[in-house]
Symmetry: C2
Subunit: 122 residues, 2 copies
């Protein structure tokens, strides 16, 4: 349906959301980890994740007190599957994407408990 396609298309028409998708290609991440990498407020990150989830591109896994987001694997329609595959093939040498991945490597070295508290006090 055209409306579904537009919804999907709008979901990826935002720099922050593309950055999130590219980050999630590496591994699942929680909101506070993304806050740290993207240097954005909690409500902003959460809303972007909501839009991506609503478009069916990502899914959540609740673990302890954190919500871990990852790229959708199952139950995806044709558009979404093709799109994620396409996305994974592009932008891998983009400077901003590379910078984000650099920051991702920092993040996964830190204890998530400490990181999220740091994130909260900035």
């Amino acid at each position: 349906m055209l409306r579904d396609f537009i919804k999907l298309s709008k979901a990826i028409s935002d720099e922050t959301r593309v950055r999130i998708l590219k980050l999630l290609e590496n591994q699942e991440l929680c909101v506070c980890q993304l806050m740290f990498i993207l240097e954005m407020g909690q409500s902003t990150v959460s809303k972007h994740l909501g839009i991506l989830k609503n478009a069916g591109l990502i899914e959540v896994r609740k673990d302890w007190t954190w919500s871990f987001y990852k790229l959708s694997k199952e139950g995806m329609n044709t558009y979404n599957r093709k799109l994620l595959k396409f996305l994974s093939s592009i932008l891998n040498d983009d400077s901003l994407i590379l910078k984000d991945e650099e920051r991702l490597r920092e993040v996964i070295k830190k204890d998530i408990k400490i990181l999220c508290n740091i994130g909260k006090r900035t």
Copy 2:
């Protein structure tokens, strides 16, 4: 580059522009023909065509007094080529797209000179 991808993505994040692209899959069309099919004002159609052209998805051919738009063939980057191919594979059974193609068949039966005058007086 991420910015280019976002620009492309925004270009296809609008129902009217996707309808235009799907119409141009059939054949090249001028502004007044699109006005008739889409039932939209001249400035609106022209602006959408400008956005698609700016994103590199379509190109113009001036013939007589008309500007005929068609899908880009050459000089396209990877994103655009892949995207147009993807677009051609989807939405072909969407009701609105089918309705547009129905209307397209009407349009190409008419003399373009008469059609464009009709379009102007509505």
